[in-house]
C-alpha cells in the first residue's frame, strides 16, 4: 500500500512568544523548528503501516525552502520519499490555497496513495480544514481526530476517534483521508543510520503560485497577559507550611 503524510514546518515555541517587527510572524531568531505534534505521529504511523503491510511512504509539505529540514527529519523516521511544494517565506497560504496545491501534487503522484494522513490541526494556524477540503476535491471519505488505525485486508480501514466517555469507531473503504492526533503512537527517535539514509532519499520539488487568500491574515497579536500577582511562598522544602496554609484556604486540607 501507499501512504502519504502531510506535515507543516512550525517554530518550536518556548515559554514566551515574540513577534517580528511587522507583526506577521513569530520571531524565530532564537528558535528551532519542528512539525506539528499530531503530524509527527502521522509520520510514525505511516512508517509502521508500511513496515506491517509493505509498500511505500511519502511525506509532503507546503512551505519555505527551509522546510526541507522537516522532510529530512520525517525520512529519518523511515519515510521513503518526499514532495516539497516550495513557497515564498513572506507569503502566508490560506487553507483553501494550501488544500488545492496539495490536491494538485497528489494527482501528479505516479502511485496514488491508499491513505492520506494529516494532523488534526496545525500547531500554529489551527484552521481545522485542509484535510477535509483535500478529501472533497479528491472525492474521498475523511475521518478526523483519529487515535487508532487498523488496515483490514488492504481494502478497508478501521479508525477510532476519542470522544467524551469512549471511542467512536469508523470503518471506511480506502483510499481515504485521515487526520490524526498525538497519542496515536509514540514516535521513535531517529537512529543515526536513519539520519544518514534520509540525506540520500529523493525530494521531488514543485513551486506552486499562491492565489489571493480568502482567509487573509492581517497581523498577529499577543493576547493580554494574565495580570496575575504571583505570591512567592518560599524556597525549597521550607515553603511547605506556607503551601499548606494556601491549600487550607482553598478548602483542600
Amino acid at each position: 500500500m501507499n501512504v502519504l503524510v502531510c506535515v507543516k514546518r512550525v517554530p518550536l515555541t518556548g515559554g514566551k512568544i515574540v513577534l517580528t517587527d511587522d507583526e506577521r510572524a513569530i520571531s524565530t531568531r532564537h528558535l528551532g523548528f519542528t512539525v506539528s505534534p499530531h503530524e509527527e505521529c502521522g509520520a510514525e504511523e505511516a512508517v509502521r503501516l508500511i513496515e506491517q503491510h509493505g509498500g511505500s511512504s511519502t511525506v509532503l509539505t507546503l512551505g519555505p525552502p527551509e522546510a526541507e529540514e522537516q522532510l529530512r527529519d520525517m525520512m529519518a523516521l523511515g519515510i521513503d520519499r518526499a514532495v516539497h511544494l516550495v513557497t515564498d517565506p513572506s507569503e502566508e497560504w490560506d487553507p483553501q490555497a494550501t488544500a488545492n496545491a496539495i490536491v494538485e501534487a497528489i494527482r501528479s503522484q505516479p502511485d496514488p496513495p491508499d491513505l492520506i494522513l494529516f494532523g488534526n490541526e496545525s500547531a500554529d494556524a489551527g484552521n481545522y480544514q485542509v484535510a477535509i477540503r483535500v478529501a472533497h476535491k479528491l472525492g474521498l471519505p475523511v475521518v478526523t481526530g483519529v487515535k487508532a488505525i487498523a488496515v483490514e485486508d488492504g481494502l478497508r480501514v478501521r479508525l477510532e476517534q476519542e470522544v467524551p466517555g469512549g471511542r467512536d469507531v469508523y470503518d471506511v473503504p480506502m483510499p481515504a483521508v485521515v487526520t490524526v492526533k498525538e497519542g496515536l503512537n509514540l514516535p521513535r527517535y531517529p537512529s543515526v543510520p536513519g539520519r544518514l539514509r534520509a540525506k540520500r532519499k529523493p525530494v521531488e520539488g514543485a513551486t506552486p503560485t499562491r492565489p489571493q487568500p480568502r482567509l487573509e491574515m492581517v497581523r498577529l497579536v499577543l493576547p493580554p497577559g494574565s495580570g496575575k500577582q504571583t505570591e512567592v511562598l518560599g524556597n525549597g522544602a521550607d515553603a511547605a507550611p506556607a503551601v499548606v496554609t494556601v491549600l487550607r484556604e482553598l478548602g483542600l486540607v
Binding site: I17, A123, A125, I132, V169, L220, K228, V243
Partner: protein, 290 residues
Amino acid sequence: MILVFAERSDDELYRQSLAFARGLGDGDVQAVGIDDPAGYSPDAWATALAGLTGERAPQVVVGPGTERGNEVLAHIAAMLDLPMAANCTSATPGDPFTLTRVRWGGSLLEEARLHGSPALLTVAPHAVAADPADADAEIELVPAAPDASVRVSERVETVTAGVSLADADVVVSGGRGVGSAEGFGVIEEIAALLGAAVGCSRAVTSAGWRPHTDQVGQTGTKISPSLYIACGISGATQHMAGCKGAKKLMAINPDNEASIFASADYAVIGDLHEVVPAISAEIRKTRGAG
C-alpha cells in the same frame, strides 16, 4: 439572517456560539440541529446544512469551536468552496468580514479578513459568555442527508479509574524536572492526599514516562480545575494552552526565571523532589493534628 449549527456535544459551548451570533448585530438568529437516528456523520450533516444555507441565504453560518463544530463547518466550506475561520474570538460583519481568531491553542491571536459569503465561522471556547436565557432557545431540527460517506459504526465505552483529568477539581502535574517514570511517585503521593488527578507535560509523554492520556497541553487534555499544581514544568506555550482554564495555578520550579511563574498565583522556588515530599508530610501532619 444568521444560521447557528446547534452542535450539542458541549451545551455550554453551543450556547456561547449562539451568544456570539447574536452579538453580530443581525436580529434574526436561527439555531438548527440535525435529526439523525443513525448517529453522527460529518458529511451527511454538512450536506443538510449546506442545502439549508442555499435555501435561506444567511449572511453568516456559525458553529461552536468543538471537534464536531469545526469538522462540520469545514465540510460545508469544502462543499460550497467558501473560506472558513475556525475558533474566532470576535467578528465584525462587512465585506470583507473582519475577525480575530485563536492560534497556537490560544497563545497567540490573529486578526484576519474573510472574503466570501456567507461567512463561515466557529467560535473559540470561552471567548464570549453564554446567555442564561438561551437555555431554552428554540432549535429547528432538520434531517441529515440520506447518503453518508462516513458514519460512526460503533461506540466503545472506556471506563476510567479514579478522577478523570478533564473533569478533576485539582490536578497535580509533573514535567521534565521529574526526571523519570519512577520519579512520579512523589506526584502520585500528593495527588492521592488531595484527591487530585495526575497530569504531565508533553516532554514527559514524549519520553515515554507517562501515557499520552495524562498529557495536559495544546495536543493533550485541556483542563479547568480550581487548583493546578505544576511541578518541574517550565511553562512552554504548548503546556499553557492546556491549563489556562485553571482558576489558581501553583508552580514549583528550581529556576526562578521559568516562564510558568508569569502565569502563577503561587510560586515555590525549589527542586520538586525536595518540595513535594515536604508538602505531603506537612499535609499529613496538619491532618493528624486536626
